[in-house]
Symmetry: C2
Subunit: 227 residues, 2 copies
Amino acid sequence: IVFMEHIQKTYWMGQQAFPALRDVSLSVAAGEYVAIIGPSGSGKSTTMHIMGCLDTPSAGLYQLDGYDVSKLSDDDLALLRNQKIGFVFQSFNLLSRTSAIENVELPMLYAGVPAKVRHQRAQDALVQVGLESRMHHKPNELSGGQQQRVAIARALVTHPALILADEPTGALDSQSTEEIMGLFQNLHDQGNAIVMVTHELDVAHHAHRIISFKDGVVQSDVPNPDF
Amino acid sequence: IVFMEHIQKTYWMGQQAFPALRDVSLSVAAGEYVAIIGPSGSGKSTTMHIMGCLDTPSAGLYQLDGYDVSKLSDDDLALLRNQKIGFVFQSFNLLSRTSAIENVELPMLYAGVPAKVRHQRAQDALVQVGLESRMHHKPNELSGGQQQRVAIARALVTHPALILADEPTGALDSQSTEEIMGLFQNLHDQGNAIVMVTHELDVAHHAHRIISFKDGVVQSDVPNPDF
Ligand SMILES: Nc1ncnc2c1ncn2[C@@H]1O[C@H](COP(=O)(O)OP(=O)(O)OP(=O)(O)O)[C@@H](O)[C@H]1O
Ligand SMILES: Nc1ncnc2c1ncn2[C@@H]1O[C@H](COP(=O)(O)OP(=O)(O)OP(=O)(O)O)[C@@H](O)[C@H]1O
Ligand SMILES: [Mg+2]
Ligand SMILES: [Mg+2]
């Protein structure tokens, strides 16, 4: 479902070049469960943004579900992204002026799902992440871990074929982390692919395969020995 | 240096009351190293904001360095806070239009430190957190862990008597976490007090005392058995 070949990403600040990704090649099969680990600044989030069609590489090939993403129009790309991908951002990226439930409804609104169905599914998703009593809170009326759980609910509510989760349990205590990992496991069991960036090894160990980043390249890509 | 007695904090949304803190009493001696743990939504960040004079309780007493904070004028409060406290926020709270180094200079600017000295100290602080090559990047040109390290550098640069750190290693890999814990340890060795919220037990174990929150109250407050 994901195919990246020799991806490069260089940021420019004035005359100075910052190669965030120097040479990244990896692929994810439909239904696979992959963890991405690596030091701070090694290129994990940058790769996730390219994978989620939110950023374009400076060089290299990226195919999502067989489509060469660089060849699609903005509209087609937005449609493909909305249909295929659920994204949990490292800094949540919730809309600050809307409530938790409205934030979770957003991907369904975009997909044209009727209001009543949207509302019910958003409510169910929030119950699943333990936020039943916080549905009408805005993000700044929620704790850090609660905001993260809203972001997770929003990514999972459309049961996307590819879930991209960038440090989805970073703000959560161990109890909440376990519940969230259970939700991801369910989605995986239903045949969806999961790519999860994490720096917590007991989160990474749920994945079947572990990709390790260092300085903008893939340093290793191995099956999880626990499986 | 911190004395809280029967602190309550209730948020109101329309007619509905949300008691974020129901009854919190705790004290921190000068130079003490305390960890605060507890589930998501249990009131840790709310307590930290009251401790850092960024929020006021609905009821109860809070004394910082002997001063009853509710009796101070806004100006005196801001001055006391700037002199005594360094705060690492759970969501970093960096100024998005200014570079890393300018963000780190901010507490010193407020304290009237001359420009040359500010610049040198901010630079040293950024070197200490491993961001020497990223000093002129704005927050959105930095990775999640790099943003967190800028927030840490900003909190530590004035060597404050009380450091409040709300999940300071949440976005960091284990290597960076170790380096950051080393910096906090140095500051503690210099006689400064540290109050650190964390949900990672191997971060909490650096502290001499562990306070555990649950549902808006202090559930337990015990010496760290490892010491
Ligand atoms: N402005 C607000 N209005 C209403 N409720 C609020 C507001 N701010 C916080 N709360 C509620 O207060 C409770 C405590 O929040 P707090 O941020 O202190 O939790 P926390 O222990 O830091 O959690 P986490 O580990 O997830 O960061 C939460 O249940 C939250 O929903
Ligand atoms: N807009 C930008 N301009 C310049 N440099 C950037 C920009 N965005 C990211 N970078 C740099 O690219 C590198 C990789 O960033 P990325 O966010 O992918 O790291 P990461 O592996 O996700 O790190 P973390 O674990 O800290 O979240 C970093 O060194 C960062 O400074
Ligand atoms: Mg990242
Ligand atoms: Mg918090």
